[in-house]
């Protein structure tokens, strides 16, 4: 009788208890993290290796196409990609086709350029705006950006985010259109990566990759398998794996700096939350089947 009561009570548990358990499960590992070493998956390694071995005259373009709600999951990808590009001396062009992306891109640029410039001893070590990187900003509509960049980037973005005429920036002598871009990585939590394929890749053949939220990863596997995306970063785990590869690369390059890796830091919390949800499913099913058998 008592057993049945417990099972029935488990079935009818107040949802606020579930919320409390989840909150604790997320918060405790954030305050007292346990170390988790993510093992890079093939799709993450593929993107990393591509950028790592890209010719120096080819630029990395990052399209920050997400909104602040998915910042925790996707911002570490932007930061890791910027670090990788600067560590391997590649030029970087940053844009967004989503107006909310402006602030997020600016945040990541500020963070990574400050890291590199604080540790720079010579001019060659530092990263300079207009020479090593450019923030094209945002413009609309999406179709104009994706197709226009294949012809002339300065036509699409005549003014950069900071109000400079892009034509006057030295970096733009080296990045004229997609031909000068080694790979464009779109970081998004929506269907925007598909539009990059439909317009930019189909028409101009630009190499693409994407960083997306874990929940939308399944939608983009067909494009990774077909080779339309060169690898993919899926969710916080993908970000953490990329951070790990970038950290190893930077150490190899003699950049043994102490940097925060937000994706890796959050892995313990995310792991705990996943396990808690699995436990919820198991407990919920045990209670469901046990009470159903009793009823029969």
């Amino acid at each position: 009788m008592e057993k049945e009561n417990i099972l029935i009570r488990l079935q009818r548990i107040d949802r606020r208890w579930i919320y409390l358990v989840l909150w604790l499960v997320v918060m405790i590992p954030l305050i007292f993290p346990f170390k988790i070493q993510p093992q890079p998956t093939p799709s993450v390694e593929k993107l990393f290796n591509y950028i790592d071995t890209m010719p120096e005259n080819k630029a990395l373009a990052i399209s920050v196409d997400f909104t602040p709600d998915t910042r925790a999951e996707l911002q570490p990808m932007v930061v890791a990609l910027l670090r990788h590009a600067f560590a391997t001396q590649h030029r970087v062009g940053i844009l967004t086709v989503q107006v909310y992306g402006l602030g997020l891109a600016e945040e990541a640029i500020r963070q990574v350029t400050a890291e590199f410039n604080a540790n720079a001893n010579t001019r060659a070590d530092s990263v300079i705006y207009g020479e090593d990187y450019v923030f094209w900003g945002w413009t609309t509509p999406v179709l104009t950006v994706m197709l226009g960049m294949g012809e002339r980037i300065t036509n699409v973005f005549p003014i950069d985010y900071y109000g400079n005429r892009t034509e006057t920036l030295p970096i733009m002598q080296h990045i004229k259109n997609y031909d000068d871009i080694g790979i464009l990585v779109t970081i998004a939590a929506s269907a925007i990566p598909r539009s990059w394929i439909n317009y930019a890749q189909t028409q101009f053949g630009v190499n693409l990759s994407c960083g997306i939220t874990a929940v939308s990863a399944a939608d983009f596997y067909p494009y990774v398998n077909s080779g339309q995306f060169i690898g993919m970063l899926a969710g916080m785990k993908g970000a953490a794996e990329y951070e790990q590869l970038v950290r190893e690369r930077m150490v190899k390059n003699g950049m043994e700096w102490v940097l925060r890796n937000r994706g890796t830091e959050a892995m313990s919390s995310q792991t705990a939350a996943h396990l808690a949800i699995m436990a919820f499913i198991v407990i919920g099913n045990i209670a469901f089947f046990a009470t159903r058998r009793k009823r029969k």
């Binding site: 548990i13 949802r15 579930i18 919320y19 358990v21 989840l22 909150w23 997320v26 988790i36 070493q37 993510p38 093992q39 998956t41 093939p42 909104t67 602040p68 709600d69 998915t70 910042r71 925790a72 909310y100 402006l102 602030g103 997020l104 600016e106 945040e107 413009t139 609309t140 509509p141 179709l143 104009t144 226009g148 036509n155 699409v156 900071y162 874990a214 990863a217 399944a218 939608d219 596997y221 067909p222 990774v224 398998n225 969710g235 785990k237 892995m267 995310q270 792991t271 939350a273 996943h274 396990l275 808690a276 949800i277 699995m278 919820f280 499913i281 919920g284 099913n285 469901f288 089947f289």
Partner: protein, 222 residues
């Protein structure tokens, strides 16, 4: 006439847009570039005016009628005006100031400050609520009631375990198996769905261009 002119514009621009995608003739290319870089941007600029006008009108009406939650409409309008003024005239941050002074002592309220300290936490808070609803739903609704639900449950379990580093401690091949589920059965079904979706988009686009589908004009097919 009110309906015929928009239909003719859609017919002509629709056909032109499709043709320009396939014809590399310079005159077509140049016209296409003008359409994309100039015409579309002008139309988008107008739609922004329309959007701002619509939201202001909607909230002013709510305030005037004292509709439900009308005091929040004041917040929307005030936030819209202040953010727009700071965004247009206040500069990006302390290092790139605008014509409008946006700094009082050590306190600055540039657009980036507003964005990082208000927009980001508010949006993140809203999104994080999803985790709580998901966990509650997982506990209450994710039941192995029949074969299909059991298969879904098993696949979800394997994927969740494969998505966390703990998966490989349980079995070293578990992450690879999770990856296989995504790469093979998932891709196969997604491709099927995508073909269907794309064909549907194609058919609907054709119907709009040819004026068969007129729902976008408002008022149905009259």
């Amino acid at each position: 006439m009110q309906r015929r002119i928009p239909l003719i514009i859609v017919l002509l621009t629709g056909i032109f847009g499709a043709v320009a995608f396939f014809v590399p003739y310079p005159a077509i290319r140049n016209a296409d570039e003008i359409m994309r870089n100039d015409v579309q941007r002008i139309i988008t600029a107008f739609s922004l005016v329309l959007g701002v006008g619509s939201i202001v009108q909607h909230h002013l009406l709510k305030i005037r009628r004292k509709a439900q939650f009308w005091p929040y409409s004041y917040i929307t309008i005030v936030a819209l005006v202040i953010t727009a003024i700071i965004g247009v005239f206040g500069g990006i941050d302390v290092t790139r100031p605008g014509v409008l002074p946006t700094r009082v002592g050590n306190f600055s309220f540039h657009i980036q400050t507003i964005y990082s300290n208000m927009m980001v936490p508010l949006a993140a808070t809203m999104f994080s609520l999803l985790a709580f609803f998901m966990s509650s739903a997982a506990y209450r609704a994710f039941r192995a009631r029949n074969l299909e639900a059991t298969l879904l449950l098993l696949a979800a379990f394997i994927l969740m375990l494969g998505a966390v580093p703990l998966g490989r401690f349980i079995h070293h091949r578990l992450p690879a198996f999770a990856e296989w589920i995504l790469a093979v059965p998932n891709t196969a079904s997604k491709r099927g769905i995508l073909f269907g979706v794309e064909l549907g988009i194609f058919a609907t686009s054709l119907k709009i261009i040819l004026g068969i589908e007129r729902g976008w004009l408002g008022g149905g097919g009259k």
